[in-house]
Amino acid sequence: MTRSLLFIPANTPAMIQNADIFEADAIIFDLEDAIHPLEKDAARILLKEYFKTNPHLNIDVIIRINDVSSPYFLSDIKHIMKWPVQGIMLPKASIASVEELDQLLSKYEKRKKNHEPLWIIPIIEQARSLFEVHTIASHVRVKALLLGGEDLATDLEVERTQDGEEILLARQLVIYAAKAYGKEAIDTPFTHVDNAEGLISDAKHAKRLGMTGKACIHPIQIDTINELFSPTQEQIDYAKKIVLAEEQASGKGAFSVDGKMIDKPIIMRAKKLLEKVTK
């Protein structure tokens, strides 16, 4: 259950040092926007040495690489294959770039044999990728989709606002595509770090639409995101009730809980929720 993902600039030792204790469900070490072109080499080497000293982090680790058309792409992948990470976040994702990354990863993984296949988390941040998001989501390596609201607004040539009207369609398309294939839908980060109220309202909105998690750009946002994207105790208790009732009613067909008729979709939702909670 990836409720929160924290971006950490890959060239900042002070932040890397504490990556494991920020309580985010996943960490995204950023080799892309957070790193100046002249420091890309320094960032890669720093992460390389960090992972050598810390090969077993008890948290999911994702690397945001530079996009496939950049001069750093190949170097990024070459290095990453030696690191103990779980996934790669791909900026400016498209069907073509996801395919390209997948092929490169498969090539390396074949050589290494034991290598657990890396996930891809494509960032949907261009207008044209909204028309490809359904196919992107269907890809077997894709675990989750991240909506890149800031870059998307730039692509649309509109202002990025707090209520997010300009990215509403994009959010929904990402959610539907993700749900269609059982993938996670991660919402774009809320960039006004000092506005705690704004974060809550933005995250609630995203959750209501169907997002399953949200990216964070500052550790101070993590607690709020974790709380909002976790099922409530009420929801957990209700789900347990349903699963228990199903076991007791086995074979007897339809049953009710608290006066409500429980059918298959409701049972499936309850089971999925409990699965996420126990992880």
Binding site: A14, Q17, D41, A42, I45, L46, E49, Y50, T53
Partner: protein, 86 residues
């Protein structure tokens, strides 16, 4: 003069400068010199050994960087110095 730098002066980081030289020279300036000065020198010597470098001047301004950060910054500086030659 062939030289290169890597790193920053931010907390938990270090600024490493490497320069071509006729002998081995290591200069360490650190906020935790009394406590970790020897450890820092050891890391630097270790990296130079593995890189087969015997003659070089290494200066480090350290703000409490952990071993892997010192290693990384030194390796990056060495790499950058090499690239300047290409």
């Amino acid at each position: 003069m062939k030289h290169a730098t890597a790193g920053t002066l931010e907390s938990n980081d270090c600024l490493v400068t490497v320069e071509a030289a006729d002998q081995l020279e290591i200069q360490i300036d650190s906020t935790v010199k009394d406590v970790f000065g020897e450890a820092i020198e050891k890391v630097i010597l270790d990296v130079l050994k593995k890189s087969h470098i015997k003659k070089i001047k290494v200066s480090i301004q350290d703000k409490g960087a952990l071993d892997y950060t010192i290693r990384a910054r030194l390796l990056t500086a060495l790499h950058r110095m090499e690239e300047k030659n290409d």
